[in-house]
């Protein structure tokens, strides 16, 4: 990780996360752009197996400049797009808080 990307504002985070999911699922960016908070992810999309989820989380760490611990990861945060976005937002706030 060479730099923490500038992700000021909700729109930038939303764009980054949708872009990443589009890359993982091989989706047209337009389809991912239509994701809403209730759009189902893990469990709804059979192609999203544990290896793909692990790759997604590792890429989130790189792009958002966050660290995701094993105990952070649970089924609920991967259930919907909204839950994953909430998780990313909380992790970003944590990473920016001075130690």
């Amino acid at each position: 990780m060479t730099s923490i990307p500038i992700l000021d504002g909700e729109a930038a985070l939303d764009r980054e996360m949708k872009g990443l999911i589009a890359e993982v699922l091989g989706l047209d960016p337009d389809r991912a752009a239509a994701f809403g908070p209730e759009t189902g992810l893990f469990g709804h999309l059979p192609e999203l197996d544990s290896m793909a989820v692990a790759g997604l989380l590792t890429e989130m760490e790189d792009r958002l400049g966050i660290t995701i611990e094993d105990e952070d990861v649970d089924g609920a945060m991967l259930e919907t797009y909204g839950a994953l976005l909430d998780f990313a937002r909380a992790k970003l706030a944590e990473a920016r808080r001075p130690a």
Binding site: E23, S50, G55, T58
Partner: protein, 230 residues
């Protein structure tokens, strides 16, 4: 196109025959291709061959050797080490009379440093392990077993681990914990962004292909070779 190469044995045993995919028309540019590893190897296999086909059409020979323990190899994966693969990569370069190397993702960890060439989206050992340990820990949790990456790593350092179905021996695992790609003086890093839009195919949940990305990587290599760079 399908051929084989002889990989020297580590402990003075007889060499082993390993598979080699070769576009060999005895041209002056001969690129050794060191592919991605483990799960990423599957995701990037087609892309790798598509780049080789484009290089062939651009007048460039290329060679994709199986490393011991991979693909069709009779050697057990669990017995392979990082140093062993480095020696195998050197031996493959010599066997193919390679003039250049194209290393992909974790393949960059074993690129012969003296060869000019390209490191595409190099992946460090710690990042490779982090994703594979996380995948195992996620899969275990679905089965109601809680094992953390740190616990798994501790076990793996002593006895090796099966991660995502790949048997990784203790020496390989310990070496990967600190392995960083170190491009040689005439090896040029190629980032994903240099291949245009769309993410790296290793990120895809299922193996896929991307003709535009394969075009871009092959064109970049052909241009470097034409310009005398790399």
């Amino acid at each position: 196109m399908i051929s084989s190469w002889l990989c020297p044995a580590d402990a003075g045993g007889s060499p082993r025959e390993e598979l080699l995919i070769a576009f060999d028309r005895a041209r002056s540019a001969r690129v050794l291709v060191l592919p991605a590893w483990f799960d990423e190897a599957n995701k990037l296999r087609r892309f790798t061959l598509e780049v080789m086909r484009r290089l062939d059409r651009a007048g460039i020979d290329s060679f994709l050797p199986d490393l011991p323990g991979c693909n069709e190899s009779l050697a057990p994966l669990a017995e392979q080490s990082l140093d062993g693969w480095r020696r195998a990569a050197e031996a493959a370069a010599a066997a193919c009379k390679a003039s250049h190397v194209l290393a992909i993702r974790a393949g960059c960890l074993i690129a012969p440093p003296a060869l000019p060439g390209w490191h595409y989206a190099a992946l460090s050992g710690p990042k490779l392990l982090r994703a594979m340990l996380r995948a195992r820990s996620l899969a275990a949790r679905e089965a109601g077993i809680f094992e953390t990456s740190e616990e798994l790593l501790e076990i793996g350092r002593g006895q090796g681990l099966v991660l995502g179905g790949w048997s990784i021996g203790a020496p390989m695992l310990r070496a990967l914990e600190t392995a960083e790609p170190a491009p040689g003086p005439a090896q040029r890093p190629v980032t994903q962004a240099m291949l245009g839009a769309g993410g790296g195919l290793w990120l895809r949940a299922e193996p896929d292909e991307d003709a535009a990305q394969a075009d871009a990587l092959a064109a970049l290599i052909a241009q470097d070779l034409a310009g005398g760079a790399a």
